[in-house]
């Protein structure tokens, strides 16, 4: 799993000990970054010494694990998934009709905004791209610095944001140059002069600080930020909502983690019991209460601020599982830098990357 210290604290204090006691076992936990897991499993598998029995992996990084044959087929345990688990969250773990991963923690980005700043300039939280651009322009005009935060740091945060924008514009992100892609990059190029320069450093973990310290007034992030903004910074003037729609629709990438059992694990049975435990109402309630994680279950009563999460999940989309995600990630990031940051022509640049992507697909 890849969790923050505070998240590990809750898991180690409140989730794992009751399970260990009930099953008379000892669970050793390890922090493994999503990008490192495939290499680690491959090394253990080649050495025929699988030391992991269960892992939680970011749902953007699953295809590699399946392609390299590193995970157990869990299809026969599909019937054990509680009926209260949202059905649309199971699909992300299925590859060519085989269930490899079990749902346990969905995630979706919501928009955070500074109520005081919006009220000061008589603005409403933007519901579409035009309103977003208008708000960004007003903040820049009044305060001389951009107050809308984009994720322009590169890698996963930038690609996830672009994916949402493109689908919201009715495009297919993998095409690179369909009308939706072109509309998205044209819009972002227009928006860029009015966004905060902190966007270049804004990752999922650093963005919360920017809005809490009021260097920006609007940003998009995962719901874990609610905890940090409320508890660490004790801010009461930051509100959330599901987000803004593009020209075609409102769309939010469903992220989060799923559970998998490495091929070669020696404790499959116990791992399956632990999966069931993590999917239980009791544990999912603790995730919501203690960590502000959205729940996979429909029978959990959520706090008020979770309405925005629920609404965002209604517009949730899963990214396509493709084996060439790494190449897609690279080209999206490069296109963003060249078009949005450096101001290169939209169509020509996107055509260049569309060709690159075609070559990768053929390979």
């Amino acid at each position: 799993m890849s969790l923050s210290d505070s998240e590990w604290g809750v898991l180690r204090r409140e989730i794992i000990p009751p399970f260990e006691k009930a099953n008379n076992c000892k669970i050793e936990t390890m922090q493994i970054e999503a990008g490192d897991l495939p290499q680690m499993l491959e090394a253990m598998s080649s050495a025929k010494r699988m030391e992991l029995d269960l892992f939680a992996q970011d749902n953007m990084n699953l295809a590699q694990l399946v392609d390299r044959g590193l995970v157990e087929d869990l299809s026969r345990y599909k019937k054990d998934i509680p009926k209260e688990v949202q059905k649309n969250l199971i699909g992300v773990g299925i590859f060519e009709n085989i269930l490899y991963f079990m749902p346990y923690r969905p995630n979706v980005q919501i928009v955070y905004y500074n109520k005081d700043a919006f009220e000061k300039y008589n603005l409403k939280p933007p519901k579409n791209w035009d309103e977003l651009l208008a708000a960004a322009k007003i903040f820049k005009e009044k305060e001389k610095v951009g107050r809308v935060l984009l994720k322009a740091c590169g890698s996963g945060p930038t690609v996830t944001q672009l994916y949402e924008f493109i689908v919201s514009a009715g495009g297919d992100p993998f095409s690179f140059n369909d009308p939706g892609c072109i509309k998205t990059f044209e819009f972002l190029q227009k928006l860029w002069p009015y966004v905060s320069r902190d966007s270049l450093k804004a990752k999922w973990n650093t963005s919360n600080d920017y809005i809490a310290r009021e260097s920006v007034y609007l940003m998009q992030n995962w719901p874990f930020g609610i905890n940090i903004i409320n508890k660490k910074y004790k801010k009461k003037n930051i509100a959330t909502y599901s987000g803004f729609a593009g020209p075609a629709r409102e769309a939010h990438v469903i992220g989060g983690e799923v559970l998998g059992i490495p091929r070669g694990s020696k404790n499959i049975k116990l791992a399956l019991v632990f999966i069931k435990y993590l999917q239980s109402k009791e544990v999912q309630e603790k995730f919501v209460r203690e960590l502000s994680w959205p729940s996979i279950r429909t029978d959990i009563i959520v706090p008020l601020h979770f309405e925005s999460v629920k609404n965002a999940l209604k517009h949730g989309i899963f990214r396509k599982h493709v084996s060439y995600w790494a190449d897609f990630d690279r080209y999206m990031n490069e296109a963003f830098v060249r078009i949005v940051i450096k101001g290169e022509p939209v169509k020509e640049t996107l055509n260049f990357y569309a060709k690159q992507m075609d070559q990768v697909k053929k390979r």
Partner: protein, 280 residues
């Protein structure tokens, strides 16, 4: 010939004791370096791709600029501090204080420097409150300002190392030379030019080579300070391998870095000479 053989036989136990270290170096340094170079030639023309890629070119330029400016400023500051604290009784206390940054992990230095250089960080707060600037300066958004921020951060951490080496060199200069210069009425700048710098040359060479190699490999500081908006060669190689699963281009970028370091050492040694040449 026979004498040489006898001497070699007599010294063989020394080689025996050196063997574990040599084996360690061969297995954990030499083999990976060679493997990495070989990998860089596999899977297509990685070098042509690298040099046609705008991110790589940016990384290359940033790395070279950081190295040049960091070495220059670190050397000047280290020399000034070393000259200031050499000889006097204040030396030990100041030396101990100045060495503190060396003990702080680079990533911690980078995090602290972010508090200084962030748009709502310490420097911008002071500058805006004093009315020096109207809007916060974007120190870490890429370009020359970010280069400056990275160089300053690097200087803060590693100038003490260079200072220590130079101080050791200054302490080795015979006192009689300074006494004779004082009798002749030689001023500070002349002493610096005709006595200190020439006799310090081997130490300067050593300091610049050690720091030069280290600065070329700079990684955590620019990454933690400015993220991907200010790439350097090692972070470029890291992202190629980790984010894009491309070990061959990562190896090629690392090889370019390796060659760059070799070239820099070669040029410097050609210009200045080997450290031993001065002392023997």
């Amino acid at each position: 010939m026979q004498n040489k053989w006898i001497k070699l036989k007599k010294d063989s136990w020394k080689f025996f004791f050196l063997l574990p270290l040599l084996l360690y170096l061969a297995i954990f340094t030499l083999v990976p370096v060679i493997r990495s170079i070989l990998m860089s030639f596999e899977g297509g023309n990685n070098y042509a791709w690298l040099f046609s890629h705008f991110r790589f070119r940016e990384s290359l330029v940033n790395t070279i600029l950081i190295t040049i400016f960091a070495l220059l400023f670190e050397f000047l500051f280290a020399l000034a501090i070393a000259l200031f604290i050499s000889g006097g009784g204040r030396r030990r206390i100041i030396q101990a204080l100045i060495l503190i940054p060396l003990g702080i992990p680079t990533i911690v230095v980078a995090s602290n420097m972010r508090y200084l250089f962030d748009t709502n960080g310490f420097i911008n707060t002071i500058l805006t409150r004093l009315g020096v600037v109207g809007i916060p300066i974007d120190w870490l958004g890429g370009g020359a300002l970010t280069l400056f921020s990275v160089v300053i951060s690097d200087m803060w951490k590693v100038t003490p190392l260079m200072m220590l080496i130079l101080l050791a060199g200054i302490e080795r200069i015979p006192k009689e030379l300074f006494e004779a210069a004082a009798i002749d009425g030689v001023g500070f700048w002349q002493r610096l030019r005709y006595i200190i710098l020439p006799l310090l040359k081997p130490f300067i060479t050593m300091a610049l080579i050690i720091r030069g190699i280290d600065t070329f490999r700079i990684f955590e500081l620019p990454l933690a300070l400015a993220g991907e908006s200010f790439p350097v060669l090692s972070s470029f190689a890291f992202f190629e391998y980790r984010n894009y699963n491309n070990p061959h281009t990562a190896a090629a970028a690392s090889t370019v870095l390796f060659v760059l370091i070799l070239i820099a050492i070669f040029i410097y040694l050609k210009l200045v000479g080997l450290p031993n040449e001065e002392t023997t």
